[in-house]
Symmetry: C2
Subunit: 80 residues, 2 copies
């Protein structure tokens, strides 16, 4: 079983890394970008009961994988 | 239109950040994790022709958003 966690800065939070990527894209000649958000991606290969895994990973996301003050996270569990 | 880019270390590459997260999960009492991979996630709000956007972003991914020697990337374009 695979857990995929996407952690992104909240929309209201200044995202200097996103701004830097946006500027770099513009300098590369790509004019179409309106906004860029940069976050983290975690892939966790896990075993055991899916419901327990989800609860524990949700707890871990909230407690130490993300900073809930400035970041949102999305947790998905899939079989492959 | 939204482009989502997931950049992960190649499986053969040592991933110290992933190892650190795995150890931290174990210390938190979560024993189910077999492997953890930590990567980046980029969300780019973009306009214009989807096919052109895909080509340009693919080029950008290859050229400066990821390091093709040690990282893989996955690019998805969606309407929302």
């Amino acid at each position: 079983m695979k857990a995929k966690i996407i952690i992104t800065p909240k929309k209201a939070v200044v995202d200097p890394q996103g701004k830097a990527v946006q500027r770099a894209l513009e300098q590369l000649g790509y004019q179409g970008s309106e906004a860029v958000h940069v976050g983290h991606y975690l892939e966790i290969e896990t075993t055991g009961d899916p419901e327990t895994a989800r609860q524990q990973l949700d707890h871990a996301c909230h407690k130490f994988l993300s900073n809930p003050v400035i970041e949102d996270y999305r947790l998905e569990l899939s079989d492959s």
